[in-house]
Structures are given as C-alpha cells and as structure tokens.
C-alpha cells in the first residue's frame, strides 16, 4: 500500500500506510510531492499515521522536510497510539485520535428567534421559480415554492420562498426559506455572504466581530437542533 496524498476540508491529508518501512514511506511521499512541487506551498497538512508507532526523530525529520522542502504547513497528526500523539504535541502539532467528522456548523452564526410565532404552513406550489438575473438592492422576490436564482443577490435585496432557495452567484442580501413555517427548508449559495439568513421563523446573522471568512466553496444553511447551521455543500 502506498502513502496517499489527498485534499480535504482542512487542507492536505497524508495517510501513511501501516506496513511499509518508514524510509519507503518517506520516499513515496517525496515522489508524490515532487510531481507538483509548487502546488503544495502553504497548504495546511494533516498526517494520519493510524496505529503505526513512530520514532521521534522520524516524525521530526518528516515534518522538517515537509516544511522546508515543499513549503507545506504541518498542523496536525492523527494517531491512535497515545505515544505518537505525545510526540506530535511536543513538535507543536495538534494531536488527534481520529479524523474529525465534518462538523455541521463550520462557521459561527448568531441565532435569534423571530418575534412572532411560526405561521401555519401552507402547502407550497410544486413549481420552482427560476430567475436568471441579479437581484438588485431594494428588490424583493417572493415565491410560494422553491426559488432558484442564477445571478447575484445584492445587499439590500430580499428573496423569500416557501421552499428552498438556491443562488448560483453571490448571496449578499437577506434570504428567507421556508417562509410559511417549513423548518426543513434550506438555503444554498455558491458564495454565501448574506446580511441575514432566515429559515421558517429562525434568523441568523454573521457575527459582528471581524468579516466573515470568504467562502471558497458552495455552502448550505439549514436548521439543526433548532438553530441555523452553515456548512460546506
């Protein structure tokens, strides 16, 4: 089995096979990284060694090589053996027992509940409204079904749907899905930077401190445990 180099949510994931000799692993790794040397620069790297025991010198040498040779930024080590985790900790890396399961709330959202109770859900119509335009500030689009917008929704605009909302573009305004009370409705955008998100009677806004991180990928907002959560699509 070979070492695998993959991309994941938190950057680069190096999965070390359990059987190979350490020097073979390092050689394989170098071979793979050399293929696209500059590509890896600056990438946060997690090393998953599973239950493989490691020598301190080996780990340190590898971390050094990743940093100096390829410009990677080793940040974490996943190891089931506590000794390995201690080693990682000593080198200033985060030590984990296993790979984290994708968390639902990747970004902090502040949740406030709406002042009035949720209205009786009226059955939404089965057709979706598809708009191929940018919704400008001050415009309000309302639809008793799913709403798909191919374009941006600028700040100051409001889009309201009894069903789901999908924006193929940048969502900067206010989006309200499940407007008649459907808490299973969701809001999806390829670039989610809203002023406010509302699903059924829940409201979420991005925190006041600092600007929200530039979403580099499509994200979905939905209600989980009574709160609006945003996660990568």
């Amino acid at each position: 089995m070979e070492i695998s180099v993959k991309g994941w949510r938190n950057g680069v994931l190096l999965v070390v096979p359990p059987e190979e000799s350490w020097s073979a692993v390092v050689d394989q790794l170098e071979g793979k990284l050399k293929e696209a040397q500059d590509f890896w620069k600056g990438a946060q790297t997690t090393l998953d060694v599973g239950d493989r025991p490691l020598e301190a010198a080996d780990l340190e040498a590898l971390v050094g090589k990743l940093k100096e040779g390829y410009g990677l930024v080793p940040t974490a080590v996943v190891a089931t053996t506590p000794e390995t985790r201690t080693l990682a900790d000593k080198l200033g890396l985060e030590a984990m027992e296993k790979l984290p399961v994708p968390e639902r709330s990747e970004r902090k959202v502040l949740v406030e509940s709406a002042p009035e109770p949720a209205p009786e859900p009226k059955g939404p119509v089965s057709n979706a409204l598809y708009l191929k335009q940018t919704v400008r500030s001050g415009q309000r689009i309302e639809h008793p079904g799913h709403l798909v917008i191919c374009g941006d929704v600028n700040a100051g605009a409001e889009i309201v749907a009894q069903g789901d909302i999908m924006v193929f573009g940048t969502l900067r305004g206010v989006a309200h899905a499940g407007s008649s009370g459907d808490e299973t409705a969701r809001i999806v955008a390829t670039n989610l930077r809203p002023t406010q998100l509302r699903i059924a009677s829940r409201i979420a806004r991005s925190p006041d401190e600092g600007t929200p991180p530039l979403s580099k990928f499509p994200e979905v907002a939905l209600i989980e445990n009574g709160e609006i959560h945003i996660s990568p699509l």
């Binding site: 940018t134 919704v135 400008r136 500030s137 001050g138 941006d152 600028n154 700040a155 100051g156 605009a157």
Partner: protein, 269 residues
C-alpha cells in the same frame, strides 16, 4: 432626422457628482461640436445653473414651460462661453410635484424637435417623484457613484429601478471622486470592488480633484480647464459617449520628480 440621445444622469445617493457630471459632460460634448441641451430636473433645489455660472440669466424655468406661461425657446439659456450648449433650468420656488412624467416627456419631445444631438437630464437624489420625472422619456442612463459603500448601495437600487423602467439601453457607470492613493492602501473601494456589485459597463473614472470645488464656486466647469485632471476625465467620457475608444487615464497621482524638487526649494525660501 435622427433623434437626439436623451441621457439621464442619476445616482440615488445625493452629493456624488450628478450635477457636476451633467455640467462637465455637457460642456465637453458641446466642445466636440455636438448641439447639447442640459435639463435640470431637481425642481426646488436647482444647482445646475450655479455650476454653469448662468444663474443670473434665468428668466423662465421648466415649470413656466410646463404651465404654459412661456414657450420652451424662451426658457432655454444659451451658455455664455459655448454656443452649442443650452440650459433649461429648474424652478427654485416650487417642488417636484410641480411637474409630471408626461409633462417631462412632452418637453423632451419638443427639445428633440429643435435638433439637439444630446439632451442630458440632471436627476435629483432619491427614488420618488423627482427620479420618476427625470427618467421619464430618457433613452439612456448614466449612473454616477462614489467608491464608497452607501453610494454603491444606492446605485444598485437605482440600477434595479431603471431595469424596471422602459429605458431601452442598459445603464452605464461613472465612478467619481476616486482617490488612487487610498485605494492602494486598501482604505477606499476600488473600481473593481464597485463593479463586483453593480456589474454595469464602466463609462469613466473621475479622480477626486480640488479643482472641482473652485470651478463650482466660479461657475466654470472643470472640463474647460486643461490642467484639471477631473476635467480631462470628463472630456474622455464625452468622447466615449460618442462611441470613441478612449483608454482610461492613469490616475496615479504622480507629483513628478521636478515638481517635488521645486516644492522643497521654494518651501525653504
């Protein structure tokens, strides 16, 4: 006879440079040989006459025309410097309820019959009656915005409203009062930041320029001055409006090697 172009200069936000732009573009177009009429649609808060230095020549205004106390020709004021340019002033003692969109359309139709190649309408700030009057009958729109969040937000509102009106052509954009040094330091929105939100065709970029203040006070539009950078930008925009391809000015404020030396020499003396 081909119909003249009726262009409304609008913004939503007040104070971004609509009147300055109308006056300067009008003057620049006239200097290029076009027959230009400027129409001040800001009834009650008229400024276009001040910026052109023509206020003491006003006898009749647009409300007099619309209420038929005078003929249109009597209300038109010829510019004191440029024979190709006329101004139809607004009333100062009335307000925007004094004119309706239909009346505006009639005035514009009459102006077009007089053979004006360009009719520029100075739109008031806001989105209410004044805006509706100013855009009635316009065939094109130029949106003026400052590189700053409030005016871009308001401009976006205006783009949405214009899209809903019957103006056939898509609006174009002038970014006014840009300060390249601040943009470089990331302290001011860049033209690209503005375009990311507005996404309309860029007609011109006018730098922030002190000569605008002096030219407004004197009633001498900056596009008449060779040394004013804003004036130069307006002259370029006028050419672009006529269909010429004009490269955008390099707005980096370079004080230049020699002027820097002179400043130091004479400062010491």
């Amino acid at each position: 006879m081909s119909k003249g172009r009726v262009i409304v200069i609008t913004s939503g936000k007040g104070g971004v440079g609509k009147t300055t732009t109308t006056a300067n573009l009008g003057m620049a177009l006239a200097a290029l040989g076009e027959k230009v009429a400027l129409l001040d649609a800001d009834i009650g808060l008229r400024n276009l006459d001040l910026v052109l230095g023509l206020e003491n020549r006003i006898v009749y205004d647009i409300v007099d025309v619309v209420e038929e106390r005078c003929k249109l020709r009597q209300a038109l004021i010829k510019d004191k410097r440029q024979p190709n340019l006329v101004l139809l002033p607004a009333a100062q003692t009335r307000d925007k309820s004094a004119v309706t969109p239909d009346q505006m359309r009639k005035v514009l139709a009459d102006l077009q019959e007089d053979g004006f190649g360009y009719i520029l309408i100075d739109c008031p700030a806001g989105i209410e009656q004044g805006f509706k009057n100013a855009t009635a009958g316009a065939t094109e729109a130029i949106i003026v915005t400052n590189p700053e969040v409030s005016s871009v937000r308001d401009a976006d509102r205006i783009v949405g409203l214009l899209e809903a009106e019957e103006i056939p052509k898509k609006p174009t954009l002038i970014v006014n009062r840009l300060r390249p040094k601040m943009v470089k330091k990331d302290e001011m929105m860049s033209v690209e930041d503005v375009q990311e939100i507005l996404s309309i065709k860029l007609m011109g970029i006018v730098p922030d320029d002190e000569t605008i203040i002096t030219s407004t006070n004197r009633g001498e539009p900056a596009s008449l001055s060779e040394s004013s950078r804003a004036g130069q930008a307006y002259r370029n925009i006028a050419r672009r409006i006529r269909g010429e391809q004009v490269p955008f000015m390099d707005l980096e404020e370079n004080d230049g090697f020699f002027s820097g030396i002179f400043k130091k020499l004479f400062a010491a003396g």
